[in-house]
């Protein structure tokens, strides 16, 4: 964990979170970043790096400055940008937002569903795109820059929240941008020593087997009406061979289940190796075992024990929460923030079948876990899960 005046770097394992103070002038931030990276040159080799620039709006030249600094100091090459749907829509509307867009030459393509699997913020180092293009579908934009890819990519998600404070909260604009990067010279990472088991399924490529990976159906068009909400729920039955060809069972389905943001209902225990990615909320009737991964654009609710990796608000929603009847995960992620369970001294207590509903939420860029109360306002205390 390192700290300078304007750049805060929180890192554990393969996750590093850069926070740039948005109150200082850009030049100072730029200098601090450069100084920091120079000070710890050779430290970064792989993992998820996110840069949080707070409320700052970055102009293209400022972005390229940051990119340049990273490239120069750590040998990283920016390969990919990613924007969430509503952000891009807003960004295309507002004139002041336009300058925040990374690339002027936008192309529109119909199909980016395959792209979504490699979307922002997820540990998916096998990004192979090399072309330079911007693709848009249903407002899902992904801007990709030139990149040289090797086995281990590095991702950098930049958040550009709230372009215009005066606007309505609902119109809050966020531009999470992910740069997938490659380190030119491999180096030893001190922090990488504490590697995460959870990362393994994502890394191991095509041979990876994830039988129960949930892929929900195409679902009806999203409607705002409450009456149609019920129909929109998708129920996922336990995986069955009969309906799926054998070769599909053995291949890693790493893609988002559906572009819809309905609630996904999983009616079985998520076992090791299973990856569930869903744009909306995810509810699991059962346990999430170690080695399983739930990535949701919205909230995650586990009606059982949560022992695997859970990532709520994966599209950059800091208000997402993770609820579980037994919250036993060692690592949680909300938005771009990663939290690790505090190391409890001594043996883990055996609580058997007893249930202790807990909720994880983000407060001041730190994930806290507190006993579940019905009223959100009461989430005062809680144990910090520091990243």
């Amino acid at each position: 964990m390192a700290k300078t005046e304007t750049i805060q770097v929180l890192g554990r394992g393969t996750n590093v979170d850069f926070t740039i103070d948005d109150a200082v002038p850009f030049e100072l931030a730029e200098r601090s970043l450069r100084e920091y990276l120079m000070a710890c040159r050779g430290l970064y080799s792989r993992g998820t790096v996110s840069i949080n620039v707070g409320r700052r709006i970055l102009a293209p030249d400022q972005m390229s400055t940051i990119r340049g600094i990273l490239n120069q100091e750590t040998g990283l090459t920016v390969s990919r940008y990613w924007c969430s749907p509503d952000v891009l829509r807003k960004a295309l509307d507002g004139p002041e937002c336009r300058r925040a867009l990374p690339s002027p030459n936008l192309e529109f393509a119909a199909d980016v569903s395959a792209e979504s699997g490699n979307s922002a913020g997820f540990v998916s180092p096998k990004v192979e795109q090399q072309e330079e293009a911007v693709e848009l579908e249903d407002g899902v934009g992904s801007v990709r820059g030139q990149g040289t890819e090797k086995g281990h990519g590095q991702q950098l998600s930049m958040l550009f929240p709230e372009l215009d404070e005066a606007r309505d909260a609902a119109l809050t604009v966020q531009i999470p941008i992910v740069m997938t990067e490659t380190v030119s010279e491999p180096s030893t990472d001190v922090e990488n020593g504490k590697g995460h088991v959870e990362e393994a399924p994502a890394v191991s490529g095509e041979e990876n087997v994830s039988p129960g990976t949930v892929t929900s159906g195409p679902g009806s068009a999203t409607t705002e009406e409450e009456t149609k909400e019920q129909d929109a729920w998708q129920v996922v039955e336990p995986p069955q061979t009969s309906s799926v060809p054998e070769n599909e069972i053995w291949s890693l389905t790493d893609a988002w289940s559906t572009p819809d943001d309905h609630t996904l209902l999983i009616k079985h225990t998520c076992r090791s190796g299973e990856v569930v990615k869903h744009h909306g909320d995810v509810v699991v009737y059962g346990d999430v075992n170690p080695g399983a991964e739930i990535v949701a654009g919205g909230d995650i609710m586990v009606l059982g024990a949560l022992r695997g990796m859970a990532h709520a608000g994966a599209e950059g929603n800091p208000k997402a929460t993770i609820f579980a009847l037994k919250l036993e995960s060692h690592r949680l992620q909300i938005g771009s923030h990663v939290g690790e369970a505090p190391r409890t001294a001594g043996k883990p207590k055996r609580n058997g079948r007893s249930v202790n509903p807990q909720i994880a939420f983000l407060r001041r860029r730190t994930i806290y876990v507190a006993p579940f109360t019905q009223r959100r306002e009461e989430y005062g205390g809680g144990t910090p899960y520091e990243g």
Binding site: G212, P238, Q240, T241, I249, R271, P290, R307, G352
Partner: protein, 272 residues
């Protein structure tokens, strides 16, 4: 009469799949069934050694599948039990030289003549695993009370469920009751809570098992070995007998208990 094909699998290596296969096969044969044990760990065969039959191998599984010999020629009769046969794996080939359909055909043929076909699955979740679970109607997961083995077992259960082998049963191998009691080892409830599968039995860690394995005699023949007794009970459960699950207890005797409390646990296991 139609036989039943059971696959013994674990995901992780070294948890005792082969030993379990040998003992369950022997146990079922001791109960009067006609049994074939089938080693599918092509390239790394062990089951013949554990059963003490490596000197008798002429033909192997790959020879049968590739049509170089008849099925009966590759079946090796056990030294002790006339109704127990072994089909060894090839040592010089690899797992990709056979496929799941071929093995399924083989097992369907065997099922016509035998009551139980016990398949020893290789470690891992690759081709060898897929071959081995193809023909199975039931699956038994072997695990040890360690988090690494449990993680792999959990993954394998997920894969089995995806392959329509629902409700696999669990054998917990190498339990040390003393350590469990001290809270230094995961106990049965922790494991069942995590894996959420039915437990078939628990096998205590046992020096006699190692001796027996090295001698090529399945430990189930040893009436004094706690692990052998555990395997007898597991076999009975597979065969449909209602044998209650016993909690493993550190062996009785005052001095043993004193030693155990002091942490000097020379003989901490008894039968399950």
């Amino acid at each position: 009469m139609k036989g039943k094909t059971i696959v013994i699998t674990s995901g992780k290596g070294g948890v005792g799949k082969t030993t379990t296969t040998a003992n369950i096969g022997t146990g079922l044969a001791l109960r009067g069934h006609r049994v074939v044990v089938l080693d599918t760990d092509i390239g790394l065969r062990n089951l013949d050694v554990v059963m003490g039959l490596e000197n008798r191998i002429v033909y192997d599984l790959v020879d049968v599948i590739e049509g170089r010999c008849k099925l009966s020629q590759a079946m090796i009769r056990d030294k002790h039990l006339p109704e127990l046969y072994l089909i060894p794996a090839a040592q010089t080939r690899d797992k990709n030289c056979i496929n799941s359909e071929q093995l399924t055909d083989l097992c369907r043929n065997l099922e016509l003549e035998f009551d139980y076909i016990i398949i020893d699955c290789p470690a891992g979740i690759e081709q060898g695993f897929r071959n081995a679970i193809g023909p199975a109607q039931e699956a038994i997961i072997v695990t040890t009370p360690e988090v690494s083995a449990l993680r792999d077992a959990d993954r394998v259960i997920g894969l089995l469920e995806a392959s329509e082998l629902h409700r696999p049963k669990l054998i917990i191998n190498r339990i040390r009751p003393g350590m469990v009691k001290r809270g230094d080892m995961l106990d049965k409830d922790d494991i069942v809570d995590l894996l959420a599968v039915e437990i078939l039995g628990m096998v205590p860690a046992d020096d006699r098992l190692i001796t027996a394995t090295n001698q090529g005699v399945p430990v189930i023949h040893d009436k004094k070995a706690p692990s052998g007794l555990a395997f007898s009970r597991i076999t009975a459960r597979i065969d449909g007998d209602d044998v209650p699950l016993m909690d493993l207890e550190p062996k009785g005797g005052l001095m043993d208990r004193v030693r155990y409390l002091m942490g000097i646990n020379r003989s901490e296991y008894t039968h399950a």
